[in-house]
């Protein structure tokens, strides 16, 4: 019966999955924003730490007596034990906040999957393959991840700049570490996006494994 025709079964074009994911986010905007706020905050934290460190490192290298005197007053001119300890602490905090963010996305996506049991079951009754279901949820999470990461990056950058301007004055603008900040930006973007996809893997798997018969359940 199905031997020849199964080969013809075209796996649904990615564009349809993209369309469905985008629409789902729009419809559940409130939920999406809550998920994204976690990413925004975590990435903002990451970016601001990175930017602050980059600014400080740059200023330390600068051969400008005014800058050096400001640094000396604040005790930031030497690569002291205290500074290194603070950096280590900040790194630890950033890692923690990213983990919290990951758990948050995981939980939020899992809730979403559970709520949409009927939709998933129905799509399977219409002939959707497991891979299509996985695509939908991974795409949804990636969209939210990318948008949240971008917002977080700019938020972190501006906050950090504001604080640096307050601490070091206009020297920050004069000696802005463009390259380092861009590198941090790239790193934040990568981490944020990858995090959203990884967090969604298990929920997407749960969704894909749902049986079509779930669509028939009248209550939940």
């Amino acid at each position: 019966m199905a031997e020849r025709e199964v080969g013809q079964q075209i796996v649904l074009p990615l564009s349809k999955a993209v369309e469905l994911s985008a629409k789902s986010i729009k419809v559940r905007l409130g939920r999406s924003l809550i998920t994204m706020s976690g990413i925004i905050l975590a990435i903002a934290f990451l970016m601001s730490i990175g930017t602050s460190n980059a600014v400080l490192d740059r200023l330390r290298q600068v051969d400008d007596p005014k800058v050096q005197s400001v640094l000396q007053t604040k005790g930031l001119d030497l690569d002291s034990e205290a500074v290194r300890e603070e950096r280590a602490r900040n790194t630890w905090l950033v890692v923690l906040s990213l983990l919290v963010c990951l758990v948050g996305i995981w939980n939020s996506m899992l809730m979403s999957v559970t709520e949409r049991f009927r939709e998933i079951g129905t799509m399977k009754c219409l002939g959707a393959l497991d891979s299509f279901i996985i695509k939908i949820f991974l795409l949804e999470s990636s969209f939210q991840g990318v948008v949240g990461t971008l917002v977080g990056m700019f938020l972190g950058l501006f906050l950090s700049l504001g604080m640096s301007l307050g601490t070091y004055g206009t020297a920050v603008v004069k000696y802005f570490p463009w390259v380092a900040v861009l590198r941090w930006g790239g790193l934040s973007f990568l981490i944020g996006s990858v995090l959203s996809v990884i967090a969604a893997i298990y929920p997407a798997y749960v969704a894909a494994k749902m049986e079509p018969v779930e669509a028939m359940r009248v209550d939940r």
Binding site: A2, P13, E119, T122, L126, A215, M216
Partner: protein, 245 residues
Amino acid sequence: MARQTVVRTENVRKVYKMGVVEVEALKGVTLEIYAGEYISIMGPSGSGKTTLFNMIGALDKPTSGRVYIDEVDVAQLDAYELAWLRCRKIGYIFQTFNLIPVMSALENVMLPMIFAGMTSDDAREKAAALLDRVGLGDRLLHKPYELSGGQQQRVAVARAMANDPAIILADEPTGNLDLKTGTEIIELLREMNKESGVTIISATHDHKMLSVSDRVVWVRDGRVERIVNREDLHIEVGKIDGQAE
């Protein structure tokens, strides 16, 4: 008169484990469903009606016994083949309508066609024609929440017909509808059955379904109690109601 069998079950048993207890939902059901017929499976809650329905619709596998759809043993099919079966051969209608809420009526009807590999343009044309056939030609772009229950079920009927299936499986299609709307849906299904020869298998409590069914399978306690043909149905109903036909 040799009629083509579209679905066949052979001594199907289904056992569920509820904790420590084993519940035998189906106790050996052998049934033949012929192409083009409108057959209703009726029975009280807990009779095994829904379980039998799930077996026939390739939504569940029996504990023992076989289910053949078009002479193919459903239990032998892999995930791809099952998906193909559900996409091309069977159309499903649910009590809760189950339209995708983020998509319009048109897009809902198009979805199974896209799964089947149709181009968007062809799918759109065919979907519009189907929606027109069920009387929703002026509501193509409405989303499910903008449609009444009866209208949503009509969209569901159009969607079930999307890939010209051999079988339509309707689980309590009138369960969430009032008397008048329910009757309309039953009529619509009967029209589909007559026009295109699609086999309609319906699991239902609704006695309104009796008058359009070619055969009625009464299920009780995990077994087929009796199968009543259309001609004898009037006598049946007469017996139940205590009124002469």
